[in-house]
Symmetry: D2
Subunit: 379 residues, 4 copies
């Protein structure tokens, strides 16, 4: 692991998620750019001191120098956005597979370089757009793919949060400081941190490609340098319309990612705060509530579920699905066996590039106050 030192929320989440299935063991880390903090974290995690490193560079070098069976199988990158690219590049070039937090990079150029590097070095690259790890999101995708909704006409995807409604970054809250700092977060705060999840979720479920968009981006909190609210209208290729919004100033909202997809035959709704349920609605028969863990669900939902119905699964398990699927895909590579296709279901470097492109287009349209072309295909 690179990053995830003392006090880093998302580092701990990654570790919980990776540990859940007992298939992944944390054996080495560069947990902070401050060596003392890195070693302190390594100690707390009971790692062998010789594998706790002062820097990610040292880690990549020394792990690569170990014998194949004795080095890390992949690296997990959980640092702020601005460092993802260099760290990922370093490890990929050292021959390691990568799990990386999102957004993938702070520029489209870096994102596309990563696409090429992944291709060139033929490594597995997984991006932790964790919300697509939920079983009922996979069921939603399966229903769309099976044509159960008919042709998709409209997508409404929203991600309101309220935690940045005041200037927490001025109070020194670590999570707030870097997310609102252009030097660490990139061109965007709300879209980068959460709007990109919304884009990924809509794309994962429907497969639709954005054609054009217009965005209204606002910085509500005085003194903040990046937008904390973004409302976007979207034209998808093929004629579907979309509304996507992300907000960090929606007081009282916790982590209320939700999506509704309307087709010609049926619609579906899923909400992250109640992740075990998928609502499917029709004009001519009763609403159906699909519930996780039941035999009537598809194989992707089943593959990414651990508990019987009624025993709720939640955030950690969804996150763990990304890790487990990626780890199994990596294991298949390492052991040269054919992977289970269901294990190949995790966000890739292409998803990452598309996400970074989306972030930039929203910010660009917000500044222009006009519809812009936003079609994209990752290299």
């Amino acid at each position: 692991m690179v990053g995830g030192g003392p006090g880093a929320f998302i580092g701990a989440v990654h570790r919980h998620a990776a540990a859940l299935d007992g298939e992944i063991e944390l054996v080495a880390g560069a947990f902070s750019s401050i060596p003392e903090r890195s070693h302190a974290q390594g100690k707390e995690l009971h790692l062998e001191p010789s594998r706790v490193y002062d820097s990610y560079g040292e880690m990549a070098e020394k792990e690569a120098a170990r014998s194949p069976g004795d080095r890390i199988d992949f690296v997990s990158i959980v640092t702020p956005n601005d460092s993802h690219f260099e760290i990922a590049r370093t490890f990929i070039e050292a021959g390691f597979h990568v799990v990386c937090d999102k957004p993938m990079t702070t520029t489209v150029e870096d994102a596309e370089k990563l696409c090429r590097l992944v291709s060139k070095h033929d490594v597995v690259f997984a991006l932790t757009h964790n919300y697509t790890g939920y079983p009922m999101v996979k069921q939603a995708r399966a229903l769309v793919n099976a044509g159960r909704l008919g042709d998709i006409r409209k997508i409404v995807v929203e991600y309101p949060q309220g935690w940045l409604a005041t200037r927490l970054e001025a109070e020194g809250l670590r999570q707030a400081v870097w997310r609102t700092d252009p030097a660490r977060a990139g061109v965007s705060s709300a879209v980068g941190d959460i709007g990109s999840h919304a884009e990924n979720l809509a794309h994962y479920i429907t497969g639709l490609q954005i054609d054009r968009l217009i965005a209204d981006t606002t910085t509500f909190v005085a003194g903040r340098k990046l937008e904390d609210d973004a409302n976007v209208l979207i034209h998808y290729k093929g004629g579907a319309r979309g509304i996507l919004y992300a907000s960090q100033i929606s007081v009282g909202e916790e982590n209320n990612l939700g999506i509704r997809v309307y087709g010609t035959d049926a619609s579906l709704e899923w909400r992250q705060e109640h992740p075990n349920y998928l609502h499917v609605r029709y004009q001519d028969r009763p609403e159906e509530v699909f519930k996780r863990g039941n035999p009537y669900l598809g194989e992707a939902a089943a593959h990414n579920s651990r508990l019987p119905s009624g025993h709720p699964e939640a955030f950690i398990e969804a996150f763990a699905n990304i890790y487990r699927n990626a780890a199994r895909s990596i294991a298949s590579r390492l052991t040269r066996v054919h992977p289970d296709p269901l294990d190949l279901d995790f966000p890739t470097v292409s998803d990452g590039a598309r996400g970074v492109h989306f972030i930039h287009k929203v910010i660009e349209s917000g500044k222009a106050g006009a519809w812009i072309d936003a079609a994209y295909e990752a290299p």
Copy 2:
């Protein structure tokens, strides 16, 4: 009553609503432009045959000729949009108070003429934006007015329906035919029929004025002449941002009007399909669920409520609140007593003009594909 002949859904709703409190009696009507249908309806309603008229013109004339204590106190107009103006004008000029369905007119010019007529003839004019008749909507407004939300930053108001997802107008369904016919409905279908309710609801609760907007309007159903889906981004005066959408092709949605208002201190959410509940959320304390009929609610909620808590009220009662408040205001005029201020709480001709202006601006922006100025003040 003018309109509301055999098969007209909304006419029956108006009659249920007006009848509920036993304070309004239906005594005369021109229920259809086809005299036979008008008389058939009058008979079914047990009206005195002499007061069932062949046309609204005849009704206005003959009722006005009756002695003051013996004629109608007000007229209720429940015809398709295109005829509202002429009927309202006729009755206002004959000295009658008016309750009129929405949208008020099909052009801004007519709307503004009505404003001036109401002012000139000093009549009561109530518009049946019925959703603002719900007690918990009134409580929402009271909370905003009392500053409980702090400064308003964002409004998300949505009104998805699915009933026009197919071309019902081609099958002759009466409700669908006129709503999608430019000659009857005016320039808009989705925005006119339901988006205007959304605008009215947001304005009623927050008092905010629209400054600019950009709209994405779409006609999904082939052969339809008006838009059946409209997504709008809004800048309110004072800096708040808004998302408003109306859709008639959102399969599986019934009548899912909902609003969320986010302030600096708290936010609120209300949904029409669960109208007895108002959710108020904070960053630092538990969500509160306000429930209709309780002593902790404000006087407007109490004034517009009939049943104890837990005995749900719904659509008819909200509609009846518009009627009852308007009727009591009319009665105050007729009896020259000072009205109860709580009875003056109903949508007015100014709200109607603002709504018609909004409809036109959405359609205009949709065609232009650009932000446009949408500020308005009714004359």
Copy 3:
């Protein structure tokens, strides 16, 4: 109307409900045993003074003396429980049809006398167990009758309220005073006032007959003379099991009547505070949510519904269904036409007798602390 004078909650509800459809007109009343109060109420209701009576006896006599087309068609009895019997008897013997509030009488003997009187005088007798007037309750019954649940194994029906958690009757609250006074309410408070609704609801939906029961009845509020909480286990004929409870001291509960019925093939759940929804659950396919106003519902649900889907109906409409169906059945008698079978769907004098018997058995078992035989068939 007999009863429903100033301040009586339920009298006003009856009037709203009866007025809703414009098919019933209130023309006469004895609204209070205190003549001044009766006349005051009559005046407020704009009744002809000559038809506002000093007592129900006078009303029965004088109305009966009017010519057939000019007298009341039926009487509505909305007084406290202890007077239902005498009033009903008086009007039945005078040849009038009756709508009566529940519980029907305070003793089983009186209830059975009423059964015989109704039979002897061949009048329509409707009891306002209003909760069975809800369309989705009728849909629940239709699903059970159609065998969609398989064989019924278990019923859980509950009716918690919190309004009597303190000794409101000592503060003079009218609604509390008579409901907790054995001289007015009879042997029971919680079971009589609300437990009887629960029994009626379970019976209406499933048709099951109680065989045996054991009850735990408690008076939590010091100084109160009747039970304010009752928990009952039930054996139904045919082997089904039941839990029924009614509580007036469940702080924070408003009017939370709810029922779950479990069969061998499926189960259903309905809750009065969200009356437009009926949940049907299976072991092997997604939960279905039936929603009022949709074409997939049965004819009884449709017959008892006024508004399109998504335009919520609630308490008043359910109450109005009892009135409208009873009134139409009465009209059929008066006009000697064959009634629409759907109009015959309202609680009868037999339901009333069964309910009174149930109330007494619960209290009896509570005192005995033992299972008792509770089978019953009304005469």
Copy 4:
């Protein structure tokens, strides 16, 4: 770990839960009474072969023979009910701490022997009544303890499931076979497997002691030897009343454990399928919805929570809380440091004995058809 061999659902849950925090490592096991199966499971879990044992007896003996720093710190027992006692006794006598699945034993005598053994050998004994591990259950308890509900008057706790609505045991489903077999499960199926969770939950939140109870127990599925449905009325010491039911034949229910506690001042409701929310209701102010992860919650809720608000936690995390708290308490013993009082919060051997006693009393009352004394204090 003892038990949890191939195909055992609950063994895998225990392992996920124990692994989550990275504080517990699985190092040895006797996973099945069939040695081959035990070794197969050990291999799948990447255990050192020398520490995968043929039997729990061998495991206790050989682990005890290892040096203190090199042997297991505690054993986790996840076998069917009938073997808990002997296994626990063996390990306790060998000096090991114990985490044991519930119900603790199949007889009260064995349960009480375990109490004395735990006391005599001074070991930590944790019982996995996992539902009390949920943070919002801990918040519920904190509210009750702080007097926020006033005096408790009524508890309604229910646990309906539907999975045993047909005779799955005849089809060989492993989970169904032993749970419905008196030789493995003991005297009860529904009460033992899930009713005991309901009892534990009610006791944990309120601290109330059962005084008397009457139960109605039924076997609905023909050929089944134990009850699959149990409805219980309870008198608690101090005057509170209770309804508790457990059902395995409630078709369409998944794992719907829920509790409502009514006090003189407020009530609360919590449902396991939506575990991040706690509803608190009052007579005189809006309902409050407490949500996991927020700063307004008490220290116990915070201590047993890993993720920020809105990032839902669920079943595994609640289970993990039992493990983590127990493990930390064990670690305190092993390192002779004073434990954090918050880590001592897990179900104990006394809770286990009380639960086993409760199970037997329900079955006894069901057979007797009468109220029986059910007061209990563990030795």
